[in-house]
């Protein structure tokens, strides 16, 4: 179990490369949510990508180089809030592993301790209380495998949705099963990935939920692309945008 710090005055936002290019509004919405909590949000312009593509493909040297570059940007002792469980897992767990036995290990660990995924930060550090201002609706959530198994934040994401009085949270079959993205896995083993995402979209659609949310844009690229290919209307959006909208911040 992770021990959470007291609420700070300022936080860093780590947007992730996928939010940067595919859903920048989710980044702005996360900033608004954090500001509503009375926090000053600092976005370091020089941030790029956490290095996961290189790491999971076996290019540890390149991944370490990218990781070092990111860590050097966040010099103040403020929390680093990440808009994805998967990049959060990379920066919270795998950075530690990559630098094990190096001279900089202690500093790296200090950085890793400061990394939080958005929902766990809102729930466990901000102790957020959401007031639902929206109409009745239903939602189904997809949690990335890293968010679930490395960061354990499917719990906090659910807690946030459960705070919304007018939102019915629907459960899908095989909820914890992978959507088949896995970064390069989707293109290295396209047919296995296809079988997985087709099952995932079927289970999500079967819930008949009005909205699909996720806090991971990797999975959303996969799931949304498959939904659109199949001609289905369901499209997932980032949880930050949904939360901000429900609480009238937008």
């Amino acid at each position: 179990m992770r021990i959470y710090p007291a609420k700070p005055n300022s936080v860093y936002l780590y947007g992730t490369c996928l939010v940067d290019m595919f859903d920048p509004e989710a980044g702005l919405d996360a900033i608004s949510l954090l500001e509503q909590q009375g926090l000053k949000v600092i976005f370091i312009e020089k941030q790029t990508c956490c290095g996961q593509p290189a790491y999971s493909s076996g290019y540890t040297k390149e991944a370490k180089c990218v990781a070092q570059h990111q860590m050097d940007l966040f010099i103040e002792p403020w929390p680093v809030v990440v808009l994805s469980g998967s990049c959060g897992g990379m920066m919270h767990h795998h950075y530690r592993r990559m630098f094990q036995g190096d001279g900089t290990q202690a500093q790296v660990e200090q950085f890793c301790d400061r990394v939080f995924e958005l929902t766990e930060f809102l729930v466990n550090v901000c102790r957020i209380k959401l007031e639902d201002k929206g109409d009745m609706t239903s939602v189904v959530m997809h949690t990335s495998c890293a968010a679930r198994r490395e960061m354990n934040v499917h719990v906090t994401a659910t807690q946030l949705l459960n705070q919304l009085d007018n939102v019915e949270l629907k459960e899908q079959d095989y909820e914890s099963e992978c959507c088949g993205f896995g970064g390069t896995f989707a293109v290295r083993h396209p047919n296995i990935s296809q079988a997985m995402v087709e099952d995932k979209t079927r289970h999500l659609a079967k819930t008949n939920a009005a909205v699909l949310v996720s806090a991971d844009w990797g999975c959303l690229l996969n799931i949304n692309g498959a939904f659109e290919y199949q001609g289905q209307s369901m499209q997932g959006r980032h949880l930050a945008s949904f939360l901000l909208e429900r609480t009238g911040g937008k």
């Binding site: 920048p24 702005l28 076996g58 198994r149 290295r188 083993h189």
Partner: protein, 480 residues
């Protein structure tokens, strides 16, 4: 449909064939759902589950940390008990040892209990060359053998078949069999046919689940009773095991046994648990007159030598990682083309067969972590895969022993691409210019993006990047 796996290097073709077989897909999904449920019901209290896994992990780690001395102790204590111990470096040596024992008894037939290690050394095939017939007596193995096939799962060898398909197999190969989908009748058919074979066999061969160094005892976990028949009825019993199965104390066995059966089939205990500590003693009425133990390395020391990869050897062969793997569920065990399929197979097979033969397997995971989450001895399988991917791409460090097949997946093109990625991701100006141009040119994203668009539309880039939006937002705030 009796297809014999051709090998891990043909993984893509084999996986694709499996994906296109709706019956196979349905059989595996059904079976894995069932086994997942069984495991869930066996571990109802997460706190207890956590405790058991931690305890079992520590037992396996302790035993592996003393592996060489425990093996020597096992050898000494087995020998003292009258069990003859043999060491085999590879499959060839193991087969020679077993062939010599068989020939010294002029044996023509061997009845086998379940043993994945005997699959690993292709014992049946090698013995057939010498005119020795091996007959599988585990029901799943028996079915698979009738088909001329190989197991598709390490604890349920015929799980790729439904009852109709089992009936079809029996109808094809057994005389006087009336087709039925009654499971009890099917099992009874197999049992009846095997009964006389136990009696007639010259040698019984089994695997080993735990080999206890302290007492020189071989433990066998099973449900059907055929293991007990193999190890007591024939005059000679040969047990074969990988060197990693040794445990230090007798008291190490109960927790591991409990974790094994609960993780595998959701059982608190199995119908049979056999402990073999010696051949038949003077005055005893049954049991073999000779017991042999063959200890097989076959690449395991490669895993042992590396402190991180040593965790691979913690495995107690429960199969839970397979039962929970979304990839295994969709392609089944044969597609892997290895003796040990699924997540654990992906991390064991490179040591047995070399990374050059298995490099496709180590990439065939979305690293979802379901395997690590259920492993009763907490093998961090995704981390091991990560490590093997690195070893497949890079030459060994100057101070490290090379792995078999090391760097065999090295690709100049991919390596350049990754260097390019690292360069861009550490040069923010370049990175942002790239992201900016991408959003500007987003109308040009092609509809056909190869493997990605075979079941998805191409991703839609945003109008502006987050970096741009924040710049504008900050400017607006500054202007106010």
């Amino acid at each position: 449909m009796g297809h014999v796996p051709a090998g891990p290097e043909l993984f893509h073709a084999q996986a694709n064939a499996a994906l296109k077989d709706p019956q196979l897909r349905q059989n595996f999904r059904g079976a894995m759902d069932y086994l997942q449920d069984k495991r869930k019901n066996a571990f109802v209290d997460p706190v207890e589950e956590d405790k058991i896994r931690t305890l079992c992990e520590s037992i396996r780690k302790r035993c592996l940390s003393k592996l060489p001395e425990l093996l020597e102790q096992l050898d000494a204590n087995c020998t003292r008990n009258g069990i003859q111990v043999h060491w085999a470096q590879n499959d060839k040596e193991a087969n020679n040892i077993i062939a010599n024992i068989a020939q010294s008894h002029k044996a023509r037939t061997m009845i086998k209990g379940k043993s994945m290690v005997s699959e690993e050394i292709e014992l049946n095939h090698e013995m057939a060359k010498l005119g020795i017939e091996c007959l599988e007596s585990d029901m799943g193995e028996y079915i698979v053998q009738l088909d001329g096939d190989k197991p598709s799962h390490i604890i349920m060898p015929a799980i790729h078949k439904n009852k109709q398909e089992v009936s079809d197999t029996f109808e094809k190969h057994l005389d006087d069999f009336t087709p039925t989908v009654d499971v009890d009748e099917l099992i009874q058919t197999g049992r009846t046919r095997l009964r006389q074979k136990f009696h007639d066999a010259d040698i019984g061969l089994s695997g080993v689940n735990f080999a206890v160094a302290e007492t020189g005892t071989l433990c066998l976990v099973e449900n059907e009773g055929n293991g007990r028949m193999c190890t007591t009825v024939p005059k000679v019993h040969i047990a074969i095991t990988g060197i990693e199965k040794v445990v230090e104390f007798l008291s190490d066995v109960p927790p591991l046994y409990s974790a094994l059966t609960r993780s595998a089939t959701g059982q608190a205990i199995t119908t049979y648990f056999n402990m073999i500590s010696s051949p038949r003693k003077r005055g005893e009425l049954d049991g073999p007159v000779e017991v042999h133990l063959v200890l097989l390395d076959n690449g395991r020391t490669q895993a042992y030598q590396d402190e991180e990869m040593r965790k691979t050897l913690q495995c107690i062969r429960c199969g839970a990682c397979m039962n929970h793997c979304p990839v295994y569920t969709r392609i089944g065990g044969h597609a892997y083309g290895t003796v040990y399929p699924g997540p654990i197979g992906k991390i064991i097979s490179p040591h047995l067969m070399g990374l050059d033969n298995t490099k496709e397997l180590v990439t065939a995971s979305s690293l979802c972590g379901a395997c690590g989450e259920v492993c009763p001895v907490r093998i961090p399988i995704p981390e091991m895969l990560q490590r093997l991917r690195t070893e497949a791409k890079n030459p060994p460090k100057p101070d490290a022993m090379p792995m078999k097949g090391q760097a065999s997946a090295a690709s100049t093109l991919e390596s350049l691409a990754m260097k390019g990625f690292a360069f861009a991701a550490t040069n923010p100006n370049l990175y942002h210019r790239g992201a900016w141009s991408a959003t500007k040119l987003r109308g040009l994203v092609p509809n056909n993006m190869g493997p990605w668009t075979q079941c998805r539309t191409s991703p839609k880039l945003a109008n502006k990047t987050l970096h741009q939006l924040i710049k504008a937002r900050n400017k607006q705030a500054g202007d106010k």
